[in-house]
Symmetry: C2
Subunit: 351 residues, 2 copies
DNA sequence: GGCGTCCTCTGGAACGTTCCAGGTTGAGGA
DNA sequence: TCCTCAACCTGGAACGTTCCAGAGGACGCC
């Protein structure tokens, strides 16, 4: 246990308590409590007096004390693996909105993608006695998730987990990959390559989805995959690898948007235009894909919906309505933009 | 006061308390407390026994109860006006890192840029009795800030405020605007136009910085400003406005990166190339500016530093080391990329 | 008039910690 | 042997709420 309590309490003037309000309104603290919680059975006269005293004293209920006696905090803990990835902005927004409706506060946290830090972040939320835990694409070990489950409802977002105790919400990566491949095929492409996401969460499934779709379309002979990553550089290197092979693909399905952007950079450097020479499809449909200079066709996984569903899972558990795991899969869609088009009539040779 | 407490406490099995640990280790609760807090003066034998009991029971200290008696939560509240703006990702990261060092938790919140919601978010943090409040570019009224100051140390980031009670950390918008203008002038531009940020926070100051820099460089006759916004559409419309006038500028200083991206779109549509025909400079140096397809020259305001400084301000107050306001201004720098270059020898006419 | 019922209100006991004043022990010195 | 002192430990009183059992009136009914 860390040693932390060296600092003395801040010597600010004490804030008014429920007792101060009670004295001022000449009623009991219980009555004040009833008014605060909006309970029935308080005479209009007293309710008015209490409300006025609250106003005059600038009283604010102490949710810490409330949480202690109720043994619930009405706080939901959310551990976000990466606060800078625009995709999680959507997720957070979905969580926040729904939480507000349900009368919960949301406490965000991050471990900056480092497993140890993420574990500490989770522990920190548990010490706070959050009523539920949402883990957005966590990189921690399954055992950490299992341990958290013993104390509090947990839902894992956008990550496969073998932990049997938690709920999960993911996007259908198989279907998403199929959408991307079929879109290219429908445009007339046959030489459709895939730059995968390396060891990133969900990368394996997307790769599998690509393989299956290609086979299903009778394009198994054109299957080409190279290793990439969920980063711009991963996409760049993956595309370079593709460019070094022959024949060139006429379409590339990248593991995610950032990866696709890196790939587009490599293509541009090689003198290939998108989509005239090579079409590119991304995944996530982040705000990046919508930028006019990029205008990337991308598989959309509805981040806000994923967040909202995660919150609903948690809430069912908190309410005691359910105690068996629920695994929700959100169907992705394809958003077509300017980065894809028909294959060139006569494939361009590299300069 | 809202009525919220309809739901009964979740009937999970009770978590072990300090008393359970004490019983198991055959010591008093006070001794356990001492071990948890890492105090001196505990015999090695007992310390060992307590630690073991904690381990076996999977005990986790209840920070809620601790907060109640200590009358401090060791939680810092952070209200972020816009969680999707990548700039705030940096700010949050700076806050989080420093907070961890100092043994504080950080509770994030957002009001999604709606003043009323933001006020509610702040109120919610105050009810939680956070030890300090960080407001990142809040859109609330100054009176709301003043009221919060009465209860807890407050620091306002990236926003001018007339509230005299709070600390503030801002970036030097005047200097940033000057950097942008001087960079263009150094490249040989004279017709440097500005698309401003409309009523957004800091927009006025950046505009003023542009005006001063132009005058200082003797370019007052070339001053051209149009109204824009901190959005892509704002930049697009602003650029269209510029394109409708004559003579065309050879460089554009946009209020913000997203705004610059919108402007670039308008230029592209008009058949003008960046930077061959028109150079463009943004502000914020967000991750967007670094994308290879965009490669935007931009004024960097160090978000992480701003967050870190804000946290340090709060901490000084909490520690009681200071009770007078501190106003910190961070110097911006310019990051030059591919969107700026020398003016065309013979300015292009519009198609 | 007595009784039951409803409405309104109240005091005290939790909740799980920390902090404080003081207790116990054993060693060492007079 | 007794006293002192340090080292180590302990129980009880907070902290600011909620919740519960029940008190006290007013009223209506028999």
């Amino acid at each position: 246990m860390p040693r932390r309590n060296v600092v003395k309490p801040a010597p600010s003037q004490p804030e008014p308590t429920i007792l101060d309000v009670a004295r001022k309104a000449r009623v009991s603290k219980s009555l004040v409590s009833m008014v605060i919680r909006g309970e029935e059975g308080v005479s209009p006269k007293n309710r008015e007096a209490v409300l006025q005293a609250i106003e005059e004293l600038n009283y604010r209920p102490n949710v810490i004390a409330r949480s202690l006696v109720q043994r619930r905090t009405r706080i939901l803990g959310v551990m976000i693996s990466d606060l800078r990835n625009p995709f999680f902005g959507d997720v957070v927004s979905g969580i926040q909105m729904r939480a507000e409706d349900l009368g919960y506060r949301v406490l965000f946290n991050t471990g900056e993608r480092v497993p140890n830090l993420e574990e500490a972040a989770i522990e920190s939320l548990l010490e706070l006695r959050v009523d539920g835990l949402i883990l957005a694409a966590p990189r921690v070990d399954d055992t950490v998730i299992e341990r958290a489950c013993r104390v509090v409802p947990v839902v894992v977002l956008n990550r496969d987990t073998s932990a049997t105790c938690s709920d999960s919400v993911t996007n259908d990566n198989l279907a998403g990959a199929r959408l991307a491949v079929e879109h290219c095929a429908n445009l007339g492409h046959t030489r459709i390559a895939h730059i995968d996401g390396g060891s990133g969460a969900g990368a394996g499934v997307r790769r599998e989805g690509y393989l299956r779709a290609m086979r299903q379309l009778g394009l198994e002979d054109s299957i080409v995959t190279v290793e990439g990553a969920f980063t711009e550089n991963g996409g760049y290197l993956g595309a370079r690898e593709l460019l070094s092979r022959s024949p060139l693909p006429t379409a590339i399905f990248a593991a995610n948007d950032i990866c696709a952007i890196g790939a587009m950079k490599a293509l541009e450097e090689a003198g290939l235009r998108t989509p005239a020479d090579v079409s590119v499809v991304g995944y996530d449909n982040t705000s990046l894909a919508t930028l006019p200079q990029i205008s990337l066709t991308s598989v959309q996984q509805f981040g806000a919906d994923i967040g909202r569903l995660g919150l609903e899972c948690i809430f069912e558990r908190i309410e005691g309505k359910r105690s068996t795991p629920r695994h929700e899969v959100v169907a992705p869609t394809l958003v077509v933009r300017a980065s894809t088009g028909p294959p060139p009539a006569k494939p361009k040779a590299l300069r």
